[in-house]
Each structure stands twice: as structure tokens, then as C-alpha cells.
Symmetry: C2
């Protein structure tokens, strides 16, 4: 039995106690962009309930074209206006360089990824970089609040990154 | 006061009851790729606890270069081997076409996005498309289980998409 099978059993329990459906647009008009890190349960960290906020996540919580695409859809079609970015302490993205990571793939399979791996050496600086990428995108035009945070995996606290 | 401020107050409550830190690598060796939809509380849907699985999310739960990047980092640096894809019923991606969406942006700001918006007309077909993109990527090489599901927002149940 795979872990996937085990998680599907958990889903049966979830469905047994489920009351739905909720409306499609996020009721709090918020979109969160966070790292994929397993320790970040975004709904719990922010006290969110189902139906309240879009949650976009990737390795690092960085902003690439796919996050711009998701934010543009979130704002233009589903009415979100506030954006919250969340990086975190002890992040895997601090532990390697793009060059080494891509060399490792090239050595294994013979093909070097054409994309950036988006590793970074400094958390606060990368939060500012992600904020700047959103501000510089012409496609994210409905933002009324844009703030970036570092989640402390030792304390559970969000610490804001000053601009 | 913004909604962001309100959510930060929730975070103070979360931090007050927090016990950490947990290890960086996901203990269940699973990566989930899901839609950003506000109604999908992935941890609750799968019965996941903090620290157990990477969670990658975007508009649609589709697989683009950024999800391949995240999965490559997840597998190569942090040891995940199982992948779970989650789309869902009543998805916003079913409600528009890429052409119309990009025309709307071009009409507003004069610039047409160079990226695909990744809208889709059929849920099961797009889950299969996302599975195929992972299988066809040379950069995701450590997968032992790859399965795709549609979450029913009316019942809370995950229904597997047959290949």
C-alpha cells in the first residue's frame, strides 16, 4: 500500500463530515503565495477557513510567470485584491545553488533544465525580490495590499519583511 | 484595517499554541499538486499533518515549468517519491478561454501575456494532461506513484481519474 492509499482513507473520513458546497470566489478577497514546505499549513498559520483565500505554493514561494498567471486569474476573474507572500526559516532553497542543482540534473540525464531553479541565499532579500516581481508585472493590476513575511518554523510566527 | 491585518492576528493565536520545529524533508515522502481554489484545504482533505508532504498549488492545479521545477527540487533534494494531483469540480478554469482572458488584459493595459492562461474545458482530460506532462518531463525522475484526482466541492470526496 502506498502513502497515497493511506491519504485516500483519510479523505473518506473528511468527506463523511463534509458540509458543502461553498461559493467559488474567495470570500476574504485574499491570495496567498507561499513555499511548498511541508511544515507550512497555510490555513492554520493564517486562521483561514475553507472558501476564504486562494493559496498558491511552489518551491521557495518565489514569483515566476506561473504565479503571475495565477494571481492575474485570481484578481481578474475571482475578485481578490490583497496578496500575502510567505517564505520561511530553514528553507531548502537556501541550501543549494542553481548552478550545482542544474549540473546535477545534467550529469544524471544529460539535459540541463532551461528554467531557473530560483534558489536564494537570503530570505528577506528574496521576499523583497518576489514583491518587486509582482509590482513590476503589468498583469497584476488590482492589488490593494501587498505584504511579505518570513514564517519562523521554530515559533509559528509570521515576521514581516520591511521594504 | 485590511484582511491581512486580521489574518496576522490569527497567526498570533497559532504561534501561541505552536510546538516546533519539525524536520525539513517531508516525512511521508509525498508531493501534492493542487488547484489554488479557496475551498481546497489540502491538509484537511488528505488528513495531512505539518511536516508530512510538500504542497504545490496554482490556478487549476496544472503542470507548467514551475511545477516541474518544484517537483524536481522536492524529489532530488528532499526525497519525495509519490505525487498526487488534485483538480476539483466547479473550477474557475472551466469558465473562460485563454483567448478571451488574454484579450481582456490586452484591451486593458495594451500588453498580451506571453504565457498560456492554462484554462481547460474538461476536468478529467486536464488531470490526464497534467499527469502526461509529468511523465514526459526528463527532470522528474524519482516517482514511484503518480495519481490524479478530482475533488468534489459538494461532497469533499476525491475521485480518481482513470488513465
Amino acid at each position: 500500500m502506498t502513502v497515497t492509499d493511506e491519504l485516500l482513507k483519510n479523505n473518506a473520513d473528511y468527506a463523511a463530515g463534509f458540509s458543502g458546497p461553498l461559493p467559488l470566489p474567495p470570500s476574504k478577497h485574499v491570495a496567498v503565495v507561499a513555499c511548498m514546505d511541508a511544515r507550512l499549513d497555510v490555513y492554520r498559520i493564517l486562521g483561514l477557513n475553507e472558501g476564504e483565500a486562494h493559496v498558491i505554493r511552489n518551491a521557495g514561494g518565489v514569483v515566476t510567470d506561473d504565479e503571475i498567471r495565477s494571481l492575474a486569474i485570481s484578481q481578474r476573474l475571482l475578485g481578490t485584491t490583497e496578496i500575502i507572500l510567505i517564505h520561511h526559516t530553514d528553507c531548502g532553497m537556501l541550501t543549494f545553488t542553481d548552478d550545482d542543482f542544474k549540473r546535477g540534473i545534467q550529469d544524471e540525464i544529460g539535459v540541463k533544465p532551461p528554467w531557473s531553479a530560483e534558489s536564494f541565499p537570503d530570505l528577506d532579500e528574496d521576499v523583497r525580490q518576489s514583491l518587486a516581481r509582482i509590482e513590476n508585472s503589468p498583469f497584476v493590476t488590482k492589488t490593494t495590499s501587498l505584504r511579505g513575511f518570513v514564517f519562523d518554523v521554530a515559533t509559528g510566527k509570521l515576521n514581516e519583511v520591511t521594504r
